[in-house]
Amino acid sequence: MTAEFTPEEVRYVAALARLALTEEEVASYATQLTSVLGHIDTIRALDLEGVAPTSHAFALENVFREDEVIEGLDRDEVLAQAPAAEDGRFRVPSILGEAP
């Protein structure tokens, strides 16, 4: 089975990824990603029953250290890099629509 990236799927995935793609991009990504998936599909066919997945080359578990107090980043220096800040916080447009 060869996967196909349809324009509908491109639009759906773009919404998940918060990308406001143009119609031109939707069309070109549909073609290009279908071609990439065609190559990637070679591994879908492999029988890997019983093979454990690897998420990390050398999984380090439970890395502990002493709790040391160190200087954090300077708040004003960090906020100075934000597109908008107010009262020591990041400022964003409305999240839930107009307040009642």
Binding site: A20, L21, Y29, S35, I43, A57
Partner: protein
């Protein structure tokens, strides 16, 4: 003057430490060369001349007081522009981070500073390190000093070209699927990807966290080892940092390869250019002449690595890049509500390849596809690691080409993402396994462009791998040590 006529990093540091020459004079020389060739090559996103000269004066003052500024005293270096530098713009060659001034330094930046090295600037890359040519940079591509009509490779193309052009003897890149070794091969420099976890990634802007690793570019294997010694070692600020002490890589060099078992990966030779296959066999003969036993070995599992990588890396990237939402740093495109602001910002800030990979990664992680794609890719990753481990039970070092072709012309692959991805065919397996690998320039191929031979080692096998790399280096063809075109002022 070719880069190899210039002093090595070790020679610069020795001259500065002994007071024979000032750090300032080396920085001035570096800046002069950059001033002459940079309009053509575009290696840098930003040149930090003032800071570099000020730091050189500090180093010179320390030497005058009888202090030792460190093993890289006064050595001009260049930093890939995805490494955070406090108060100096760090863009990842993306419009979404243009103008952002990090509030902290990456650990590698701190360590190189403490070792006495002096950064002269931030080098160009494919946006967010996604690409193999620097053509995906939002600020325009870098050019290959050997032939300015060709790409320098990528994603660390600016760092590779900066060393090849003789701007600096050392630079840092990052390698997620070959982004150090492939441009090193294309530009005729040494490029080393260390074992995953050997070098702290604190302050490296994340692309695919289970694969990213920082490493050096240099003109010689010895200089690469010298730089690795300064940056390797545990860092509590990187939770994936291995709790091991780095070895004395430089001291181990020169021990030769007597008795080493070397395997030539036969699967890597079938699709490589004929001249590249000849180069790999020549390098294997040099190891044999040095006293190693050399045999061919088939590791077919490695050929599934590329497909697995193009599932795993975009999946991790789609998650890592969700932080660019117009809230805390970088670009914001205003919109009436947060969701629209996020989407408008990301649409305007990301280039085509970054969006393509975010799309691919989001797709393979989405409901219904996770097991078929992502989990399957992780199983392939296990097979790749196991196959490598079987090979390393038989061999100390493996050898193959770094790339299937030499550096290609601009535009050759830009409209065909899959063709571009295939240039990482031989570098990706080491990233999936977390193993070290190094590209060493060995011969000239098509268009008189350099060919890189790749030495691969098991986890934390850097010392033995670098010894083999140095033997290969000693046998390299004349003419492969530095481009002539730029340095003779005959650039097109």
């Amino acid at each position: 003057m070719t880069p190899l006529d210039r002093p090595s990093a070790a020679e610069v540091a020795a001259a500065v430490r002994s007071g024979e020459r000032s750090a300032r004079s080396f920085i001035e020389e570096s800046l002069t060369q950059i001033g002459r060739d940079e309009a053509t090559l575009h290696c840098f996103n930003e040149i930090t001349a003032e800071q570099a000269l000020a730091r050189a004066e500090e180093i010179d003052a320390a030497v005058a007081k009888g202090e030792d500024p460190g093993p890289l005293a006064g050595v001009p270096i260049a930093l890939k522009d995805n490494l955070c530098t406090r108060g100096i713009a760090t863009t990842c060659s993306s419009k979404i981070l243009e103008g952002w001034l990090p509030p902290y330094d990456a650990t590698v930046v701190q360590r190189l500073h403490q070792a006495g090295a002096i950064s002269v600037g931030k080098t160009n890359l494919d946006e967010f390190a996604m690409g193999s040519s620097t053509e995906n940079s939002a600020f325009g591509p870098s050019r290959n000093p050997w032939d300015t009509g060709r790409v320098p490779g990528g994603s660390s193309g600016g760092s590779a070209a900066a060393v090849a052009a003789g701007y600096v003897p050392l630079s840092l890149g990052s390698d997620t699927g070959g982004s150090i070794r492939q441009p090193a091969a294309f530009c005729g420099t040494v490029g080393l990807k260390p074992t995953y976890g050997l070098v702290s990634r604190f302050g490296l802007i994340a692309f695919a966290s289970s694969l990213d690793q920082i490493g050096p570019f240099a003109n010689t294997v010895a200089d690469a080892a010298l730089m690795l010694e300064s940056i390797a070692g545990h860092d509590p600020r990187d939770s994936t940092s291995l709790p091991t002490q780095p070895s004395a890589y430089l001291a181990a060099l020169g021990e030769g390869v007597e008795g080493l078992r070397v395997g030539v990966i036969s699967d890597f030779l079938t699709d490589a250019d004929a001249t590249i296959e000849v180069a790999v066999r020549g390098a294997a003969e040099a190891l044999c002449a040095g006293g190693a036993t050399v045999e061919e070995v088939a590791i077919p599992e490695l050929m599934n690595a590329l497909a697995a990588y193009y599932l795993i890396a975009p999946a991790e990237a789609s998650s890592n890049l969700s932080r660019y939402d117009g809230v805390r740093y970088g670009l914001r495109v205003d919109a009436p509500d947060v969701a629209k602001m996020n989407a408008a910002t990301r649409q305007a800030g990301f280039g085509p390849e970054v969006k393509r990979r975010i799309m691919l990664g989001t797709y393979v992680l989405s409901a219904g596809y996770y097991d078929a794609y992502y989990a399957q890719a992780q199983r392939v990753r296990t097979l790749v690691a196991e196959a490598f481990n079987r090979a390393y039970a038989q061999f100390d070092v493996l050898i193959g080409p770094t790339t299937p072709t030499v550096a290609f012309p601009f535009g050759a692959k830009v409209d065909d993402p899959l063709a571009m991805y295939l240039s990482d065919l031989y570098t990706i397996p080491s990233n999936l396994a977390g193993h070290p690998a190094v590209s060493v320039p060995f011969a000239l191929g098509e268009g008189a462009m350099p060919i890189g031979v790749q030495l691969l080692g098991p986890a934390l096998g850097e010392s033995v791998m670098l010894r083999a790399a140095q033997v290969v280096e000693a046998a390299q063809a004349t003419g492969v040590r530095g481009p002539v075109a730029m340095s003779e002022g005959s650039a097109r």
